[in-house]
Amino acid sequence: MLTFEDYRVVFAAVGLIGVLLFASPTLGLVLHLPGGERFSELWVLGPGHMAEDYPFNVRVNGSYMVYVGVGNHMGSSSYYLVYVKFRNETEPLPNATTGAPSVLAPLYEYRMFLEDGGNSDVPLNFSFSNISFSGNQSAVGSLTINGVPFIVDKSVSWDAVNSGYYYQLFIELWIYSAESDDFQYHNRFVSRWLNMTGI
């Protein structure tokens, strides 16, 4: 049988648990538990909104399309800047190790505002003009993105291993930091190799 002291302890424990239960709604408003991992997504999909049928073999005046998507899991609303850049094999990509963006100037850009958990994708239409081939060299004079023509003047040599003239369209993700009042490279990029096949 329980002693008087045992009952006292039971009553005190029940009292404490009850008080904590009644206080829990208020504690929930005051205490904020740390959330999950914070990150952003960046992706490229083909013209059918699927990870297939990506443009690869391209030619002059052909029209190509991909979708560029961004997802926000940063724990609050975020302001993203997406840069579209174009390079040949010798020009630098962003450095994933140091988190530095490519030094190449952006051609086209998108700006997106996403709430936490939200995502959005935008069409990226592109075509090439002023293309020339000479010896084992190919040159692209102009790249039109979403109807805006850009002078790019890039040239590549014939890639004997992969049999083609390879250019790369790549997309960098930048995020606005309210603390520094500036955009910072978010250490995410996606790219597509494009083989220039003919005039």
Partner: protein
């Protein structure tokens, strides 16, 4: 006389052409400067609007409507930046101005949303705190009452118990 008039006209035309050429340069430079300044102002306005929206969100406001407006403004700003990059200054100024006008009301709206969200949060906190306090007080009072009633019941139960005599089996 005619020669003099012709000479004067030619000189005047030459001066006009020179001024025209010089002015063209000035206008082009001013066009680039003006576009740069318009795009810069729109960029700053969008950042301010986003910061205000973020403050409202942190205060607990639903900012979906503001985010939709910011997305429209962001699209215009991106178009303005791209137009500026390719040297289409008039379009850059036009898009930047549209962006500025669109984003102009967002800061005020965000500020009012923040105020109402803070007031709501305060009211919610007060009512929750009242519930917690009242609930805890009622619970503890009830528990004390039960304890007070339980003590004599327990004592009576103890007194009613018959003493048991145990025999010492070892002896």
């Amino acid at each position: 006389m005619l020669k003099r008039v012709l000479k004067g006209s030619v000189s005047f035309l030459l001066v006009l052409v020179l001024v025209g050429l010089f002015s063209h340069g000035v206008f082009v430079v001013r066009g680039a400067d003006g576009a740069s300044s318009s795009v810069g102002e729109a960029d700053v306005a969008v950042r301010r609007a986003f910061n205000a929206t973020l403050d409202a969100e942190r205060a607990g406001a639903n900012v979906s409507g503001l985010m939709a407006k910011l997305n429209e403004a962001g699209e215009l700003l991106a178009e303005a930046e791209t137009a500026y990059r390719v040297g289409n200054f008039s379009e850059a100024v036009g898009k930047a101005d549209q962006c500025y006008m669109l984003v102009d009301g967002v800061i005020g709206e965000a500020s009012s949303l923040k105020s109402s969200a803070l007031a709501d949060a305060q009211a919610r906190f007060s009512s929750t705190l009242m519930f917690s306090l009242a609930g805890a007080v009622v619970f503890v009072t009830a528990l004390i009452l039960i304890w007070v009633l339980f003590k004599p019941f327990y004592a009576k139960k103890l007194l009613k118990m018959k003493p048991e005599v145990a025999s010492n089996v070892d002896v």
